[in-house]
Symmetry: C2
Subunit: 132 residues, 2 copies
């Protein structure tokens, strides 16, 4: 069980956009260089963020990706869900009656983590970065 690298790339890209250029579009090449990823792969990841409405993409010359106006509301959980999906971490597919107590316990613990991630915004981290 690991978070995928794609999630890591997505989080770092969001943070970079927030710190460096909250309004101007940034090309995928520039973003890719900073994280040592291939531009095409990063583009594939960012497409997911576009579909979830966290960033917008501008085609053509001087194009690139930029944050949406309400970007300060975006939490870690939003980004993670966009990349990893929204399904639960644990699936009890054993057929043993209606309610699986193990499933309930696991989901309950998972929600603790999600709550923490929901209260953690990119804007907060970006602020720490600029102060530093």
């Amino acid at each position: 069980m690991k978070y995928s690298k794609a999630t890591n790339y997505a989080l770092h890209t969001m943070l970079h956009l927030a710190v460096a250029a909250p309004d101007k579009p940034v090309g995928v090449q520039q973003l890719a260089e900073q994280q040592h990823v291939s531009p095409t792969y990063l583009s594939k990841i960012l497409t997911k963020l576009v579909k979830e409405g966290m960033i917008t993409s501008a085609s053509g010359a001087n194009g690139g990706y930029s944050l949406v106006p309400h970007w300060k509301d975006i939490s870690f959980l939003d980004i993670i869900h966009a990349i990893e999906g929204k399904s639960s971490l644990f699936d009890c597919d054993v057929t043993h009656g209606p309610g699986c107590l193990i499933q309930e316990a696991m989901v309950s613990a998972e929600e603790k983590m999600e709550e923490a991630l929901r209260n953690q915004t990119i804007a907060e981290i970006a602020k720490k970065m600029t102060v530093d």
Copy 2:
């Protein structure tokens, strides 16, 4: 990001041992039937639990797996760590200065979940099952 089926099998096996036979050894075939897994695969999983000291295995006729004496202290987190490993869910391998704030935020959230799992014991669930 998903918990593996192996973790699911391990949790269910532990629960079953706790409910049905806290002291007598149970054969791997019987355990496998209830979860619709092949005995050899389940055996491979249970070997990990043996190495982590949560169950013991008895060879020979009437052999099988049984819980260790202090099984009431075993938490969900112990079992998960035995199967999934103890490493963090998130690795920021981007080279950008010493402390990655994203990494810190992720680990912090992860610890919330681990705390919940550490406080959830198999014995608790087993008790609910028998009352029911």
